[in-house]
């Protein structure tokens, strides 16, 4: 891994490759550890595992000039009891986007930490940790990122019912149920007229 | 005889105190307390007498003049108070006997300087004062070479300049008597006049930390225990002022050599400005106060340099006053150090809650330092400005004003950085300083308050001492200041007015919504709604005057210290070259002998 890590190719010498070349190169390099296909123009899809994802990213970054880490997102495949982490990287050379999909177990979601490759991956990882409960090994950063004092299951999981939670936790205002104009309700409740100048601008 | 006895008694008592501390700490403290009480009592009751004796063919003469007794008052009062303050302050430290030995030696040295009527005894006591203060500067055992030796070297440069002047004066006038020198000064040749006065001014300028020779001061003030620094900055540096006043004024009155006065005034003004600027950017309270001291001494030099009646009056008044307020400030710094063990602005905060008495003493001192009414600092500043105005020093007054305006910056930094700001948990167990440390501070604060309205209390002494300097009939009033153009300010009216308005509004603001006025903690601040947690502290202590630094950094980049250091290194390197002469090889030495013989033959044949 370190070998790959330190031997960076000079970007200027790289020939601009098409999607198929990229896919072939990756598949050649990793053999049967990685599978993939060209999804459409400028888009390649790869399937990796938690063991190979770091190598794939490093290879793509240093050998194939995919220097831009666009996003790390997560899909909750609750039926398959799995989370799918999607690493999206992009190359300014070939203008190709690669989606690398990694499946982790939903019960014990652990993935390698990649913020040493791209510093800003840290932010995405912390968000996923908080919203999905995916644990990244050795991730540094405060536990409370966006949510404060969260005690329920991570809210972006599909088995979390947010409407029910809102109903339970917050106070619903009566009158919210029908779609009546709020002003009507207020007038009804307080018996107060809408001011003249406000009427002028109301629909 | 009684004159010299006071000094011998102090030296003797110093040794006794040393022995007492070797025996028992409490006994030693009692000895210190005794002399602290006895010193002012004895000084203010004894009848001065002149005394002289012969040593090595030189006549040593002793006796107070009306001028030196003015400074003696300062030395005695400040000495006694700092001694009292030292008892609790130093209590935890070791080698107390050694400390007090040197402490008393330097007090004795100062009094000796003041009662010397001839230059040799002046020099002897000057050196005793110097080395005893040096031994206290290195007392803590930290930075002994960097700070201590530096202090000693600069002191030695000054002292040796004085020594050179003394031997020259001895040659020219046949005696080392001080007043004889000044009386006959007008008869000297021009070269002699310039040389002797320059050398003497250099000597005194070192002790009073005037600009090119100030380099030792900040570190030396910082490195000695604060109880001594009060005396160091308050009284010991005034010895330089004492000598400078003598020289500068005598030069004026005897020869009218205005150039020296002007140069002194300009040096003083530049010192005041630069030292103040440096003080603004210090991060250690002791260093801040040290630079501030240098700046204040610059003001005094300005007053002496312009040499008019108001100017000298201002200088002498400020000299005494500086002793008081800088005494308080260093004592306050010491109290803080004693209770918290910290002196850096980044570590201190919110001590007003724990040390209110210290705070109010320091506040009084700071107001006096900044020259604001209703305290006595205004008077000294007023006198200096009026002196500069009436002697038409257009640009000096601007420099002085720049300096004293910039002084507000560090005044605020000191008060805010130490006493104000957010409280921190680590000061929860801090207590107010011991009573014996507070008493001197509070006493001096009262002194400042009293002088703020009734400066006549001290003008009395100043006018009598100014008659010694050749200013007869100095008019003064108890609480009215008059400048040379007849403009007056009435301090009683000013201060009463201020106090009354203050009191009226104090009553009003305290009574309005009195029941609904709450005092909240310093962590309960408007902070965009974010509550401040226990572990957070939003005290502002880093880059305190960054914008100001950006403005003046082009000037402040050049430091004379760098020049001195490279000069010293250059000397070292230069002699490293000579070290190669001593090769350690016998043959080379034999060769030297032969070469020397040859040269000697040649020289001998031609020269002899």
């Amino acid at each position: 891994m370190s070998e790959v890590f330190f031997r960076t190719k000079d970007l200027s010498t790289i020939n601009i490759m098409n999607e198929q070349d990229i896919l072939n190169k990756i598949l050649d390099h990793f053999g049967n550890k990685v599978t993939g296909n060209v999804k459409r123009e400028k888009r390649v899809e790869l399937f990796a595992t938690t063991n190979t994802i770091e190598d794939v990213l490093l290879y793509a970054k240093h050998q194939l000039s995919f220097i831009h880490f666009t996003q790390l997102s997560c899909v909750d495949w609750i039926e398959e009891k799995q989370f799918e982490l999607v690493y999206i990287i992009w190359s300014p050379e070939s203008k190709v986007t690669i989606l690398i999909k990694v499946r982790v177990d939903r019960e014990n979601p652990v993935a390698p930490n990649i913020d040493y490759i791209w510093r800003h991956a840290n932010t995405f990882e912390r968000e996923l940790r908080e919203m999905y409960g995916v644990q990244f090994e050795g991730l540094v950063g405060a536990q409370d990122f966006i949510l404060e004092d969260w005690i329920e299951i991570p809210p972006m999981r599909r088995d979390f019912d947010t409407a029910e939670y809102a109903k339970k936790t917050f106070f619903d205002r009566p009158g919210r149920e029908n779609a009546r104009d709020v002003r009507e309700t207020i007038r009804q409740n307080s018996g107060e007229e809408i001011p003249e100048f406000a009427k002028k601008y109301s629909r | 005889m009684s004159n010299i006895i006071i000094i011998l008694a102090i030296f003797g008592w110093a040794i006794l105190t040393y022995i007492a501390f070797r025996l028992n700490k409490t006994l030693g403290n009692i000895f210190v307390g005794l002399i602290a009480v006895a010193l002012p009592v004895y000084y203010f009751t004894y009848v001065p007498e002149d005394y002289s004796f012969q040593v090595m063919g030189l006549t040593l003469q002793f006796g107070f003049t009306s001028f030196s007794s003015l400074f003696a008052i300062l030395v005695v009062i400040l000495g006694a108070l700092t001694l009292l303050y030292s008892i609790p302050y130093m209590n935890k430290k070791d080698r107390l006997g050694w400390f007090y030995l040197n402490f008393l030696f330097s007090i004795g040295g100062m009094l000796g300087i003041l009662m010397s009527k001839d230059f040799v005894s002046l020099f002897i006591f000057w050196e005793i004062m110097t080395w005893s203060s040096y031994l206290i500067v290195i007392f803590s055992g930290k930075k002994v070479n960097k700070v201590g030796v530096k202090y000693m070297v600069y002191s030695a440069i000054g002292a040796y300049a004085m020594l050179m002047a003394i031997v020259l004066i001895n040659k020219w006038s046949g005696t080392t008597n001080i007043s004889h020198f000044f009386e006959t000064f007008a008869d000297y040749s021009n070269g002699a006049k310039i040389l002797s006065s320059l050398l003497l001014l250099t000597a005194f300028a070192v002790k009073s930390a005037l600009m090119p020779l100030h380099v030792w001061a900040p570190n030396a003030y910082t490195n000695s225990p604060m109880s001594y620094t009060s005396l160091f900055s308050g009284a010991l540096s005034k010895m330089g002022i004492y000598g400078m006043a003598l020289v500068a004024i005598m030069l004026y009155t005897n020869t009218g050599m205005k150039f020296f006065g002007e140069a002194l005034a300009w040096l003083g003004a530049i010192t005041a400005v630069l030292a103040t600027f440096w003080a603004v950017f210090q991060t250690d309270i002791r260093k801040l106060l040290a630079y501030s001291s240098i700046g204040q001494l610059g003001y005094i030099a300005v007053g002496l340099g312009i040499g008019t009646e108001l100017g000298v009056m201002a200088a002498l008044f400020l000299a005494l006053l500086h002793g008081l307020f800088k005494g308080i400030l260093f004592m306050a710094a010491g109290a803080i150090e004693y209770r918290t063990g910290k002196t850096d602005f980044s570590e201190l905060r919110g001590l007003i809650w724990k040390m209110p008495v210290t705070f109010f003493s320091a506040l009084v001192a700071i107001i006096a330092l900044a020259g604001m009414p209703p305290l006595s600092g205004l008077i000294s500043k007023w006198l200096i400005y009026e002196a500069l105005l009436s002697s038409e020093h257009y640009f000096l007054i601007i420099l002085i004003f720049l300096s004293s305006t910039a002084a507000f910056l560090y005044c605020f930094h000191f008060l805010y950085g130490v006493f104000l700001g957010q409280r921190e948990d680590d000061i929860e167990d801090v207590k107010e300083a011991p009573a014996l440390m507070l008493v001197p501070m509070v006493l001096m604060s009262f002194g400042l308050l009293a002088l703020g309205t009734f400066p006549g209390l001290i003008f009395k002494h100043i006018s009598s001492s100014m008659s010694y300097l050749g200013f007869n009939d100095v008019t003064w009033e108890m609480s009215v200041l008059t400048n040379e153009w007849g403009n007056k300010i009435y301090l009683t009216h000013l201060n009463t007015m201020f106090m009354v308005v203050f009191a009226v509004f104090f009553v009003i603001i305290t009574l309005v919504a009195r029941k609904k006025t709450r005092r909240v903690g310093t962590k309960d601040i408007a902070n965009a709604g974010e509550p401040i947690l226990a572990e957070d502290n939003y005290h502002f202590s880093q880059d305190f005057y960054k914008p100001f630094w950006r403005v003046i950094s082009p000037v402040m980049k050049y430091r004379i210290e760098t020049f001195y250091n490279s000069f010293a290194n250059g000397i070292g390197e230069f002699f490293q070259f000579f070290r190669r002469v001593y090769t350690g090889n016998g043959q080379t030495y034999a060769l030297y002998v032969v070469i020397f013989l040859t040269i000697l033959f040649i020289v001998g044949a031609t020269l002899i």
Binding site: - | I367, M372, W382, H413, L420, F506, A528, V551
Partner: protein, 302 residues
């Protein structure tokens, strides 16, 4: 000095200063609004603000220094006011303590309030306050220099250090000092916006950056006192300037006219200027204003 007379005249002067100062500040808001194509608040709006602040039902402080800081300021302002001649016709009614102090003392008296403010702000524990104070003090180092240069030039030239003396000079010669010493006047005039801390020198209490800086923890009666003080002190500064440079005024009408005309300078300048950073402000003051101050000094020396 008849103490009761002083009490009477002093109170009347203070009330006058308060009312005039408040109205000027109201006018400033009005003028600002008009320039910005707004209607703007009524001219008496500041009285309402002060009244509201004084009628707050609760107020907090963070300690004794914050409690006394506004007092310190207002005591300074009123004391200063007492030493400034309001009219130049020798009217005994507005004399107060005019002949018992001089300009140097006034210079120092006028900064006492800043120190009180600084200490009060410091004790609140709000870092914004302390930052604001450091900026304010730094800026003060800037504008005091040209201001003092102008004053020194006048004082030495006319060999008096009292405001009354300078007034006498102008009354007797019939010429305003701003005409006879134009350079000193320009230097002092350029320093005026700094004294008022109006834009472009308003970084001290910039609301968006520093949450109004030093006063960010002051509310209720404390803020009310400060606004009162601000009004009185504005009057003090304007009157002092008018006395020194514009020949004073023989009756209140002229006084209002002259002070208003003077007040318009920082106000209108401020309306069209963005904000200086602290170091830019200091550099500004040490640039042209100091240059004119030096010219003024040279003129005085010749």
């Amino acid at each position: 000095m008849d103490i009761w007379k002083l009490l009477l005249t002093g109170s009347v002067t203070t009330v006058l200063a308060f009312v005039v100062g408040m109205l000027y500040m109201g006018l400033r808001r009005k003028i600002t609004a008009r320039v910005q194509n707004r209607v703007g608040p009524p001219i008496y709006q500041n009285f309402l603000d002060v009244m509201k602040l004084w009628s707050k039902k609760s107020s907090i402080n963070h300690g004794f220094m914050q409690h006394v800081a506004p007092l310190w300021m207002i005591a300074t302002s009123i004391t200063t006011l007492m030493f400034i001649p309001i009219l130049n016709n020798g009217s005994t009614f507005f004399t107060n303590l005019t002949f018992e102090g001089d300009l140097i003392m006034l210079l120092y008296l006028m900064v006492v309030g800043s120190l009180g403010m600084a200490l009060g702000a410091g004790q609140t524990g709000n870092p914004n306050s302390a930052i604001g104070v450091t900026r304010g003090l730094t800026q003060m180092v800037g504008f005091e220099i040209p201001w003092v240069m102008a004053l020194v030039a006048l004082m030495i030239q006319h060999r008096t250090t009292t405001v009354a003396g300078l007034l006498d000079v102008q009354v007797q010669s019939g010429t305003w000092l701003m005409l006879s010493s134009p350079f000193a006047f320009i230097a002092a005039l350029l320093a005026i916006p700094g004294m008022f801390r109006y834009s472009p020198f308003d970084i001290v209490g910039a609301p968006a950056e520093l949450a109004s800086g030093p006063i960010s923890e002051f509310g209720g009666k404390y803020l009310g006192t400060m606004m009162t003080n601000g009004a009185i002190f504005a009057f003090v500064k304007l009157t002092l300037f008018v006395d020194i440079f514009m020949g004073g005024a023989s009756n209140l009408g002229f006084l209002l006219l002259k002070t208003f005309a003077l007040y318009m300078f920082p106000v209108l300048w401020g309306l069209v200027s963005p904000r200086f950073r602290t170091e830019q402000a200091v550099r500004f003051f040490w640039g042209w204003p100091v240059f004119f101050g030096v010219l003024g000094l040279i003129q005085a020396a010749i």
